[in-house]
Symmetry: D3
Subunit: 243 residues, 6 copies
């Protein structure tokens, strides 16, 4: 099967990082197609960045559709434009936050989320509420490491991340940790070795869920909320969507 | 004071309609500055339309900021990009759904929402949940009138709208009705005359809340979730946001 | 328009304080009619005080009705007898807690409440739940300053209040502060100058919402929960309500 | 033990009716002291009636306190002034709605409430939310029988009540029925015979809970929310509360 | 009346302890029939223990049924197999956690739970959610005293228990304490003397509720969720249930 | 990898049916080890059946552990003894209801559940609440087909099932259907062909999630709620658990 792995920010280095993680976990028969937008912010760290990134992300979904991919992954922890992408796509679309929360709730009673900037905490809490996982989450913590600093994470930042994971475990009772940024996917192995509880990365979790849906023959339902978008005029830089 | 009234879709006729409503309700000292994007869909009827409209909407917020407006109104019932706009703006930003729900909860115990397409119902329910008004709302109903058909609404469509309002009252116990589309703002007067309960339009409600915040000297808090966005590279058609 | 500003406790000094705040914020065309009950407690600090104050408060609503006021404000942070007053009145009735929560949720993602006595904390939490604002409130803190001490607040008490506001900001992440007592309305200006986030007073917020509803032509819905009370015998000191 | 059975409305006939029910269920060693206010409405059917009845109800609580009763029951389905009464009293205070909901949840998975007027439905729903029993309640239905008509209920009204009970069972899946008015306590026996599920009356339920708390040696906690009220001036018709 | 008091673990000493408490509180006319299973764990401290204990517990319910008991009490704080027991029994079945939460919510606004092992905390929280009492509970604390150590509790363990009760009061605002283990029922008296707030034991609370239901003539509803189990084949060590 | 597929009821025919489904979906490298208990009910249709089935189910988990399986699936829609099994096992344990809800929420906004007997509806609703999926579920419907009748389902029963699926779609707005019984897993293909929306079976969904967790290297967290059970005496027919 073909999985389009969309990095919604314009940092190609980050796309590479997550593609390495994705390929390491994918089945041999799964082809990972990494995808980086040509328009938008270099990192996504607030609602503004997310709103700007959304339209270019949908262009990538359309590209993936033309390439007949069997699933799309939106690899940014805010799951930007997930509902819109599900309307546009025929194949399933999976957000990495939703994927990680699902895996965490299968192997722990209460999990924690450790993410980048403090200002993204309410966004994580909103996703937990939207998906229904807030009762399973006992801790949402920020490291205040900027997203782009994760690309070449130094030891100081790594220790900061590990410290917050430990605080989630010891102070908040977290039994598993969800890493709250696609850019952390290359740190899972080391953290898993150094911490006494499971560490979950949304990118690899999403790859497995995409494969699962494909093997189950399940596609996004097109009858209700995720039904095909309505044809209408679009102008200006979005005129290509007109129909 | 100056209020920027943003119609997030590209239909200038709809901008005019809502500007007439807004001016009719505004204080004499309030200047309404209508604003229509140059890019995007002619109407917003699903998550896809909303996602595409968001970036151009933020360009308009920036324009309003340059014009030193005292408040911004996002006049689309999905309150698109509201959090992003609050990060970007210095002045308060008000969504018409949030505004209408607030007014409704002051004058009724249980209100109903009557909106356009069935497929937008979950989006309305999500907003009710997000804002905390779901316990005050007893009815969310669709007319399946497309947004653009509201511009020159014929009698048949009007009767359809009225029928759903009556159903909300009689079957669901609604004590007030929130109209679920900015394009319905010119129908408030007639519906108010013909129905036994208050009818609430978000555009005019938002104008009053914008004036209220201004007179109270209240601005969006910039310390937490709505703090200023972080400077970073942007490329492609969003390169103007780079800093 | 005429707004009846009801202080539900019998302290005329407090009525004066809040009338000054209300007039300072009201439009020039708005007449503020302060109203103090002849029966009841000098301050309202628990459910008992609130229950005793309710009947006299409803006498004042009836008085306002006779004077053809266009809106009634109940200026006590517990919003006592709000539902009953809405049944009795024709014009809208606004509680200052509900008003303050609404304004706070328009300009912050998470607000805090700083109030008087610790024993009123559960009452504030109950109002947040009832109105649906509990998800937007991250902090409810008491200063343990008695209500009447607010009339001539000394520096020590002011510092105590400021300290709790700072704790709400720094420890709980509050992005705006709602002052939890009508008697604090004269402290808004000083606190706003000394603290980095918006400070919201329910009295002035309610004045603006009353003006807003009036200008929108909205009245309390009389069809359901707030429908006119049923005529019936009343005896003893409430015989004047018989009909 | 001595239980004060307070009927918060001024209808002595209704007090007698409920006293008969209470005595029929009480232990031989329990003395039921019926209590009717000298001030207030003849029946309680809306928030206005409830607010007016509250102060006189608290006078009765004080009377009961002087008589050293071991528990107070507030026998009106809205549980008026319950929190205030708990602050005032030393002995436990039990509301009949809370009592009935508790008994219902012990013997059924989902119960229904059948009450008097439609306009009281939101009040019942609010109590269910406040006490936490909303998940156990699958049906809240009104008969639109006025409270006073229950005193000498004719066959037509009885059939109406039975019809709504049956609808709650058959349409809503109710496994037990809570009768939503103290004035229905004399109908429990007949309804229990004619309906296939348990029928619960709050008056008798409250008597049993009052006896239970007494035998367990449990009193209202006076350390927090229900701590003693604060001494302060009261004027006018409530001057007797000054201290 | 006859109440079957089931200790779901196989420790006969613990059955004796709780039978002493139960008898001390029961009416003279109430016969307490203690019941200990012949199969299962010596204490119940996790979901595994609870699952193993359930089948033997249901054998005891059947025994009680043969003895025509008027109520069954399941005296383990996890309320194991409560729904199953209600399906099986004709008489009411009461769990001690549900009973204790009900009594606590009648005499306090916010109560705390102090229990045995930390690992049982999520189970307590789940029960609070299931029964709807989570809003009334402000504190769930573990002492990490093993259940069997309660049989001959030494002073050190008692002090530990008292310390957590005090922390619930002082740090969490608990106004009453629910003891989270049937094995603590003999400590209620001493703790009540030494602590300033009511202490509630589920065993005695359940005895009173069982007597209350009996005197009210209320039985478990057999029409819905608790309807009689369906006849079907059972094999192996459960063949005696076949029918 | 080796997946133990546990049918918690004693019907070997049903075990075979679900094993066929499981093998058809599993990867070639996955070995499905079907497992049927020697003790317990032939079908699980109420809380009583579930409680009796739990201990034998845990014996099977222990067997699987001895066989070094890499995951255990509990293939009964009530997810019986799931928490207990997670405490006992080292490998992940997946319940088919949780698995099906997760898959449904990835491909639909609102899904429906169509199950066997009406009396199991509250159990399904409880699971939705426990797992946090209640906001995504718009419909829970029963067919009143007994579980064992599914083994050789005739056309009449199949039509009944299809009718309820259609009602969920048309009346309740379901965008996907979760089949509420492991015994329905062989009907997925036919229903998927005849209905316009995705049909989800928990058995196959659980197989894919088990494979996913294995490939991600994730195991049940043993630090908190699912930590190893505490050694203690067990007697009678459970003496083999003593340690």
């Amino acid at each position: 099967m073909k999985i389009q792995l969309i990095n919604p920010n314009t940092s190609a280095d980050m796309t590479n990082t997550m593609a390495i993680s994705a390929r390491a976990t994918a089945l041999p028969s799964t082809q990972i197609i990494p995808s980086t937008p040509e328009h938008g912010p270099k990192s996504i760290e607030c609602a503004f960045d997310e709103a700007i990134a959304s339209a270019a992300l949908l262009d990538l979904i359309e590209q993936g559709k033309q390439q007949n991919v069997d699933a799309h992954i939106i690899a940014c922890f805010g799951d930007p434009a997930l509902d819109a992408a599900r309307e546009l796509a025929d194949a399933p679309v999976i957000g990495i936050a939703e994927a990680a929360f699902q895996m965490a709730s299968l192997i722990s009673y209460r999990f924690g989320v450790v993410t980048t900037l403090s200002r993204t905490l309410p966004a994580s809490e909103h996703l937990l509420l939207k998906y229904g996982h807030q009762t399973h989450c006992c801790s949402v913590r920020a490291t205040d490491i900027p997203v782009l600093a994760l690309e070449n994470i130094d030891n100081q930042a790594y220790q900061l991340l590990k410290t917050e994971c430990l605080a989630a475990i010891e102070q908040d009772g977290a039994e598993a940790i969800v890493l709250g940024c696609a850019g952390m996917s290359n740190l899972v192995n080391q953290l898993s070795k150094e911490l006494p509880i499971p560490i979950i990365d949304g990118v690899t979790a999403a790859v497995k869920l995409a494969e699962s849906l494909h093997q189950l023959g399940l596609q996004t339902s097109k009858t209700g909320q995720y039904g095909k978008r309505i044809s209408k005029p679009f102008i200006g830089r979005y005129a290509h969507w007109a129909s």
